[in-house]
Symmetry: C2
Subunit: 332 residues, 2 copies
């Protein structure tokens, strides 16, 4: 059994102790990402904003933290057979990169409709791409076949304590870099990122507020919180290709208990926030990465008196893997 | 007389002492910009690269350092009448911002063909825009008229010891952040940036190599170095709108003596480097900002045996103010 497979306190899949262990484990490999600030954006938002730039993480997204922690948690015998995942994006690239660092194979099941730049990232890091149909059933079936054929270990993109612990290291860094933060706004999809961030942040400062940012066209977390149970959607439709997964049975209890509210924004707000990231912060984020800024600028946040005391807001810019082909074509 | 108007040693317009004074002067206002690294780009370049991200500086470019130093060098009486400059871009915005911080007027003469986003930056920071025709003669005439009308102080974009000293603070920071650097690659235009960077870096480490990166369509610095005297061009033509100025009488002696070589790259190489900045570093740079990376990847650098011992290369990503309208239109 891996060290992080023991059930942490509160029956959650991770806790501050597993997150601190993850920090030690990934420290030799992961970037400590910078925190950027902008007077212009502070002025637009009416608050002080602290941007945790996970787009600068290895592989271009926070996912490397969890993937690295998961892979370096494996004992040598298990690790030797490699790892498998089915993921459309950043987790896949991150897992390939972490596997490459440890010198083990990574089998990545990718749906045929995945963004080209994310597939290229997987290949760049030496991941073995195995194509599947877009639907989740096909992705899972293909991954299971690979598992049987290779004896590799499945590393789920978010529903895994080792992954949650790795993502939680963001809070350890960020609250050291900007200890005045009273609120964190974090993108939500499967819930691995926000679960880790919330567990660590609340352990350090129980008064800290944790807000999730979710696209309107994939608002399963918002609906799950409203319904008090995991709620799936029959279809999703958003520009934020990294935020289309649903909560898992390990992330749901953490989201249910520790996330104060899910703020839902539409694609137009996401694109506007993305534009501000490029034009003001000078950071090339992907749509999913900009959603935290979209949330803080939304009416749902700005006009809610409950948030009038949120003055120092940490925003996780989660990733920067986006196809900008149209931009480069314009220079031809 | 302003403290920085005394002639520093070696008859240059600035020296390590004026640069250290500038650092103290601007420290309350300027960002200490992060240094990013990328294994992928290291592998492409065959060296370790250290990207000094001046696109994250206030105003979106390194220019704020010099502008802030110049404005806070003025005594109160002089400052009260405001400052003037004629600039197509980042210096203008930086001067407007620094003037706003000090609470004095900034009169900015801008040619009608300046990039829209740069004009918007000037306005955002409260600069008073005064339009001129594109040619330098019209810009200078208009600026002189403003000087007469207002009694304001002219702050030249680069040919000024206070500006050079401010830009030199980049070296103080960078060599503290990455002391292993043996080579610096810096964009060259009027020479204010590279003069400051070279003066400070050579004072800290005389063995450090200073390379300039210049666009082929505006290679006056390359020609000046070849000819041993300031050489102007009858026309310039490059996508790097921030690199179209010519050396001045204060920057030329420093460039002549301290810059080891000018590496010339074409626009295609600049765009390719810009693309790598967006796709790999996740940084939204302007063409001028990417030219240092273009230089290190160019044949002129890669195939020159003189550079085989340049293993730790600091690259100044000088700015990020670029119109990306085509990108946002694609989301409509």
């Amino acid at each position: 059994m891996e060290p992080n497979c023991t059930t942490p306190s509160d029956n959650y899949a991770a806790d501050i102790s597993s997150i601190r262990q993850a920090q030690v484990r990934i420290e030799p490999f992961a970037h400590k990402t910078p925190v950027l600030t902008s007077e212009t954006l502070n002025s637009i938002a009416g608050r002080k904003l602290y941007f945790k730039c996970e787009c600068f993480q290895k592989g271009g997204a926070f996912k490397f933290r969890g993937a690295c922690n998961a892979i370096y948690s494996l004992d040598d015998d298990k690790a030797a057979k490699g790892v498998v995942t089915h993921s459309s994006g950043n987790h896949a690239a991150a897992l390939a990169l972490a596997a490459k660092l440890r010198g083990i194979p990574a089998y990545i099941v990718i749906p045929k409709n995945a963004p080209k730049c994310k597939v290229e990232n997987v290949k760049r890091y030496g991941g073995q791409v195995i194509w599947s149909e877009p639907l989740m059933q096909s992705r899972e079936d293909t991954a299971n076949k690979v598992l049987q054929d290779t004896g590799a270990v499945l590393i789920h993109p978010y529903n895994d304590g080792r992954i949650i612990s790795g993502q939680g290291t963001i809070s350890l860094e960020l609250l050291e870099q900007a200890s005045e933060i009273d609120t964190l706004i974090v993108p939500i999809s499967g819930g691995g990122l926000i679960s880790g961030v919330a567990l660590a942040a609340k352990a350090i400062n129980p008064a800290i507020r944790i807000l999730a940012a979710e696209p309107m066209g994939a608002d399963d977390a918002f609906q799950s919180k409203s319904n008090g149970r995991i709620t799936m959607l029959s279809e999703v439709n958003t520009i934020a290709d990294g935020l289309q997964a649903f909560l898992g049975d390990l992330t749901w209890p953490i989201v249910r208990d520790l996330v104060d509210e899910v703020i839902v924004v539409d694609d137009k707000e996401i694109i506007q926030a993305m534009r501000l990231c490029y034009e003001i912060l000078k950071i090339a984020v992907e749509p999913s990465g900009a959603i935290g800024l979209a949330a803080v600028l939304s009416d749902s946040f700005q006009k809610n008196p409950a948030y009038s005391e949120c003055n120092h807001i940490g925003i996780v810019l989660s990733g920067g893997n986006v196809d900008l082909g149209v931009l480069w074509k314009s220079f031809d």
